[in-house]
């Protein structure tokens, strides 16, 4: 069995308003940061997972992302995978 470290990034789709991102952008500007054009907040999920090779693990992670980690009505996801 191989072990992989997976980092999943879940983001609100561009068409979905992100009020928390807007509020953070506003605070960033108040802090004095210049040039911020947009700021959106997502989630990062770290998973350590075992499987027989990368393909099998990708299959598991695809299922998890599609059915649980992200709600694809409002969110997109992507992930990176590193063999340990």
């Amino acid at each position: 069995m191989d072990q992989f470290a997976v980092k999943v990034f879940v983001r609100l789709r561009p068409s979905v308003l992100d009020p928390a991102g807007e509020a953070t952008k506003s605070a960033s500007i108040k802090l004095g940061a210049e040039g911020i054009k947009s700021l959106r907040i997502g989630k990062m999920i770290e998973v350590k997972i075992e499987g027989n090779g990368e393909n099998e693990v990708r299959g598991k992670i695809d299922l998890l992302c599609d059915r649980l980690f992200a709600n694809t009505v409002i969110e997109d996801y992507e992930y990176s995978l590193e063999k340990l």
Binding site: L12, V16, L17, P19, A20, L68, N71, V73, I74
Partner: protein, 221 residues
């Protein structure tokens, strides 16, 4: 109708289950039974309410974890049989997360947790949930949510409009919901999800009775 029993689902973190039960039993004389989320036996209930609260602490997304409970797995057959399911607030979020209703509920536009009474237009009484439409077109119900902004894409919105699936719209949209949507039904009309709390408007002494009709309609065939 004496034996008609409404199942009130209890998740870890539900906090309106007792209110729903109180409103049904105390105000409407309808028998209720609490259903623990790990139960998948729905054989002795005739309708189901998914009450408000914070199931599983709203972890990941509101309703996202509840979707995988044995009870929600069993709900598919229950809904297909035509029996009625009412999802209130967190219950509405669970119904969208689990695909019984389209769209999603996301953080309120102004980020506030809004606790208020709101005026609602009855748009459709599909399923008979709001047949009081001939008496009055507008009802007033309490809302209490941080993630109640209904969101869907334009194709879904068109389907909701074309098929008369929008049950309630806010008169003064408090949370930024698409098309002012406060509640929707499925195509068949036997599943209703809404952010306002009808169970908190079942007695004049606590602020109104506009929620009675919707709870009472759980016993409709």
């Amino acid at each position: 109708m004496d034996n008609f029993t409404v199942g009130v689902v209890v998740f870890p973190g539900s906090n309106c289950d007792r209110d729903v039960s109180w409103a049904l039993e105390g105000c409407l004389d309808i028998r209720t039974k609490y259903l623990w989320h790990e139960s998948s036996d729905l054989s002795d209930v005739d309708a189901i309410v998914l009450p408000g609260g914070f199931s599983y602490g709203d972890y990941l997304r509101c309703g996202a974890i509840a979707r995988f409970s044995p009870l929600i797995n069993a709900l598919d057959e229950f809904v297909k049989s035509g029996k009625r399911v009412l999802g209130i607030c967190n219950g509405f979020q669970i119904l969208t997360e689990s695909g019984f209703l389209p769209g999603a509920l996301v953080a309120n536009k102004n980020l506030n947790f809004i606790c208020d009474d709101v005026e609602l237009d009855i748009v459709s009484s599909k399923g008979g949930w709001f047949n009081n439409v001939d008496v009055k077109q507008t009802i007033k119900l309490p809302i209490a949510h941080g993630e109640g902004r209904y969101h869907c894409d334009s194709d879904t919105l068109k389907k909701l409009v074309d098929n008369e699936l929008i049950a309630l719209r806010y008169k003064n949209n408090p949370n930024g919901s698409s098309f002012d949507i406060a509640g929707i039904t499925n195509n068949k009309g036997n599943v209703l999800g809404l952010m306002p709390h009808p169970e908190r408007a079942c007695d004049e002494t606590i602020g109104g009775t506009d929620g009675l009709f919707t709870l009472k309609s759980l016993i409709l065939k």
